[in-house]
């Protein structure tokens, strides 16, 4: 038996014993667990614990000291591990920065591979859609209907239509993310309006495909790596020099993939791109003399994937940019350690948990007295909007990209 054969032999034994070896790029995550000092500070800040209590969701400390240490019997954690929204609050408050959200993904990946019967049924439909279409949402059956829906949204928002551009060697790839590609089309269109307004040389993907985050979150690691590879090939083939997205989840995931898979090009959220590449001077100039007569009182929701998974600076940019728009009054929400509840794909199987998590935000939001909530993530937008609607609130929700585009276009 040569070395390769020996390796294959051992691998098959591992499979029998329900062990999946870690990828080399996962080792820093695994070793971060050993830094846990079992203090429990994270429990005080976990929004899921706040919403449903430690008896139902045992909390981040339990993930670090108990659930992560149950190999190969990870399946025994299945009643808890799927309730984490992956907001990253625990990792941020942890004095040792134990990477709980990624540990959750590693455990889910092992359950998915060895005990698919325990994976929440709600994931399976999404998994099928991703496998079939390379998208996290079922694509429109009728292309014309999709366009009609898009045009209706644009008309309602008063935004012009900028035709799609697909070309090689553009400076920027605009990557809208599945939600904006298939559902919240207005976000995709608004970003194009903004990029066009500033004369950015941009392109879209010829055929859009998912960034792989949903597959990672549900534990389909093989699919996630396949999608990541597919996306890298497309981006490399286009020959762009940077990637810009409007989705918070895509922002952190693309940054992760770019580093892990050596893309060699930077990835930005649109807010970062505006602040760092376009600059406040040009933004101020562009806002001059535009449709700014009406004043509006807003509050801002910070997406977890921007503030805790990428950098809090991005939301500082958001506040800076909002401050440039005359007539916009911003009141900060008092919801600390909050999460919209839409993270970690929790709403796909335990909607009551996701809704309990978002409730904290809704209460704090009502207290701000704001008439509108803006957030730079179409997924947070959808999650908060549907919960506000159900609670009978009159507060409206906008994706920040759409809000900004409306302020930038001509009367």
């Amino acid at each position: 038996m040569n070395e390769d054969e020996a390796y294959e032999y051992v691998k098959s034994t591992l499979k029998k014993e329900m062990i999946t070896p870690y990828h080399s790029d996962e080792l820093t995550i695994v070793s971060s667990v050993s830094r846990c000092i079992n203090c429990g500070l994270c429990i005080n800040h976990c929004p899921v614990v706040a919403a449903i209590g430690v008896d139902r969701f045992s909390g981040p400390r339990s993930i670090a000291v108990e659930l992560s240490r149950s190999p190969p019997e990870y399946w025994s954690t299945a009643d808890k591990i799927y309730l984490c929204t992956g907001c990253g609050t625990c990792k941020e408050v942890c004095p040792k920065n134990v990477d709980i959200p990624e540990i959750v993904n590693l455990i889910r990946a092992r359950i998915f591979e060895h005990r698919p019967d325990l994976v929440p049924k709600g994931f399976m439909l999404v998994n099928e859609i991703i496998t079939e279409h390379g998208l996290a949402f079922e694509p429109w059956a009728d292309k014309e209907e999709k366009e009609e829906s898009r045009d209706m949204r644009l008309e309602h928002l008063g935004l012009p239509f900028i035709p799609d551009i697909v070309k090689e060697k553009a400076d920027v790839l605009f990557y809208p993310g599945c939600q904006a590609e298939e559902r919240a089309q207005e976000v995709r269109e608004a970003a194009k309006v903004i990029l066009d307004l500033f004369g950015v040389d941009f392109t879209l993907l010829n055929e859009f495909s998912c960034c792989s985050l949903p597959s990672r979150l549900m534990g389909n690691e093989i699919k996630a790596r396949e999608l990541a590879k597919r996306l890298k090939n497309k981006i490399k083939k286009l020959g762009v020099s940077k990637v810009v997205t409007t989705c918070a989840g895509c922002t952190s995931n693309l940054a992760d993939l770019a580093e892990r898979d050596d893309w060699g090009i930077p990835t930005y959220h649109l807010l970062e791109f505006l602040a760092e590449e376009i600059g406040y001077a040009r933004l101020t100039q562009a806002l001059k003399g535009k449709r700014l007569s009406e004043s509006v009182h807003i509050s801002v929701h910070d997406p977890c994937h921007l503030i805790r998974h990428t950098s809090r600076r991005i939301m500082d940019y958001a506040m800076d940019i909002l401050a440039l728009i005359p007539g916009v009054k911003v009141t900060a929400s008092e919801a600390h350690d909050s999460c919209c509840g839409g993270g970690g794909m929790v709403s796909y199987h335990s909607k009551d948990v996701a809704d309990a998590v978002v409730k904290e935000n809704l209460i704090a939001l009502e207290e701000t007295g704001a008439e509108r909530l803006v957030t730079p993530c179409p997924l947070c937008t959808a999650q908060i909007e549907s919960n506000l609607f159900k609670s009978g609130s009159s507060i409206e929700v906008d994706d920040l990209t759409v809000f900004l585009a409306q302020k930038l276009i001509k009367e």
């Binding site: 000092i37 203090c39 429990g40 500070l41 429990i43 005080n44 614990v49 706040a50 449903i52 209590g53 430690v54 008896d55 139902r56 909390g59 990253g88 990792k91 941020e92 408050v93 942890c94 004095p95 040792k96 920065n97 952190s252 940054a255 992760d256 580093e259 970062e272 760092e276 503030i307 805790r308 998974h309 990428t310 950098s311 809090r312 600076r313 991005i314 600390h336």
Partner: protein
């Protein structure tokens, strides 16, 4: 990404936030980086100045007494350093130390007034709040909700320990026994102590409940009345004048809850000192952050300082890293308040003990090099002595301006100041001086940093 600030504080515990508040209040643009929360967020919420001398068994009755002893015996203790300066005559050192520590205590009390962590107590004397184990410890300030009032003075005082069914941190039966034995041995009131269990069910269950759930639950309107009804019966049963409950009275509205409870049951109510991470520690952390932000300081959580660039004798920029971005920060002065082993400012492994941000020289409590101290070799029984575990006193050595020094005794950089647990020469767990040293050194280091940037400008 790029940022700029006059003063950059690294670390967001007591020392860092106090320094940040001083800096921001002086009008300097101030940025505070924090990679995670610190030992302050864990603390019991009691602000100790100085409780014991190492090896001593009798606590100090007042901080001034302890500080005078420290100044005489341990001149290089961070409190000792407070007393040095170009304009301080040798015979004034002790008075200077006492005055400067008093100033910072008065200042902190004032800043916390009206926040969710308002404090009682003063610099004139230590008092002895009770812990959830039934023991007492000397401290200078406690949160208003934790004030045991006149329990130890009133001859007729009767204390009721009220536990919560399904909350495992607190066993009122055992705490009341420990506490009463202690009081009998001392021959001091209260002479009667009782205990009871109450039911608080944040999620409708009376098992597997954590502090944070109870605290959040009691913050909600109406929940305190249910608790009051249960305690009232027990207060009447034993004729309690005081009621001790675990530190879970609320996050935002704890003081209001205490007053409501007292009104309903006709006895004084106070929270006990709890295990880390306790709710009063969380309140203190949040309150300090609020004071800092209101003073105009900018808090950047989730960012870790990873490298620096030097220009001559000063550090003029720091590279900070968030999970997926890097920021270069230009600054005129830096306050290093990164903590010790929990906060991560000092780390020890098989290669010795080192400072984690700048790799500045570390020393032991006796001011020898700590470069080759291997923590795993000092874990045997002899190391656990009344003097305290020796690695607890390791850290940075500083000059009278609170600037870390090099092997040759000169400052490591002209504009880098250090404060809090990152400093060597004191052992908070033996001395009961943790938050006090953090407060005083944060206050002093920031004053010096402010002076420096004003001088340079």
């Amino acid at each position: 990404m790029k940022l700029k600030s006059d003063i950059l504080v690294i670390g967001g515990g007591m020392a860092g936030l106090v320094a940040g508040i001083i800096a921001a209040e002086s009008g300097a643009t101030t940025l505070l980086l924090r990679k995670g929360q610190s030992a302050t967020a864990y603390s019991s919420g009691a602000i100790d100045i100085i409780g014991y001398l190492p090896e001593a068994t009798e606590p100090f009755s007042a901080p001034s007494e302890g500080l005078a002893a420290i100044a005489g015996l341990y001149p290089l203790h961070p409190y000792g350093v407070v007393g040095y300066g170009d304009n301080v005559a040798p015979e004034e050192v002790v008075d200077t130390i006492i005055e400067r520590v008093r100033d910072s205590v008065v200042w902190l009390k004032d800043r916390l007034e009206g926040t969710i962590a308002s404090v009682v107590g003063d610099f004139q004397s230590n008092f002895s709040p009770i812990s959830i184990l039934g023991t007492t410890k000397p401290t200078c300030l406690v949160q208003t909700t934790m004030n045991p009032g006149d329990i130890h003075e009133r001859e007729d005082s009767v204390l009721l320990f009220a536990g919560i069914t399904g909350y495992p941190d607190f066993n009122p039966s055992s705490a009341s026994k420990t506490y009463l034995e202690d009081r009998i041995a001392m021959g001091q009131p209260p002479h009667k102590v009782g205990f009871c269990m109450t039911k608080i069910m944040p999620f409708g269950k009376s098992f597997n409940i954590s502090s944070i759930e109870i605290a959040r639950h009691l913050d909600h309107k109406g929940s305190i009345e249910t608790l009051a009804e249960q305690i009232d019966v027990q207060v009447k049963r034993i004729g309690a004048t005081h009621v001790a409950i675990p530190p879970v009275l609320g996050i935002r509205h704890a003081l209001k809850s205490k007053l409501e409870l007292e009104k309903a049951i006709g006895a004084e109510v106070f929270e006990l000192l709890g295990f880390p991470p306790s709710i009063p520690g969380l309140r203190l952390q949040l309150a300090l952050e609020e004071v800092y932000t209101k003073a105009g300081g900018k808090l950047l959580a989730g960012h870790e300082a990873i490298s620096s660039s030097r220009k001559g004798k000063t550090i003029n920029s720091i590279l900070a890293r968030s999970p997926r971005r890097e920021i270069s920060i230009d600054t005129k002065a830096i306050i290093l308040a990164t903590g010790k082993y929990i906060g991560g400012g000092i780390a020890g492994n098989e290669n010795g003990i080192r400072e984690t941000v700048f790799d500045i020289m570390t020393v032991t409590g006796e001011y020898h090099s700590a470069k080759d101290i291997v923590p795993s070799r000092v874990t045997h029984r002899l190391e656990i002595s009344p003097m305290g575990q020796q690695i607890q006193t390791c850290g940075l050595s500083i000059d009278p301006q609170f600037r870390p020094i090099r092997e040759d005794g000169l400052e490591w950089a002209e504009n880098v100041f250090a404060a809090g647990a990152v400093l060597a020469g004191y052992n908070y767990s033996v001395e009961k001086s943790g938050l006090g040293v953090a407060l005083t050194s944060g206050y002093g280091a920031a004053m010096n940093a402010v002076d420096r940037i004003k001088g340079v400008a």
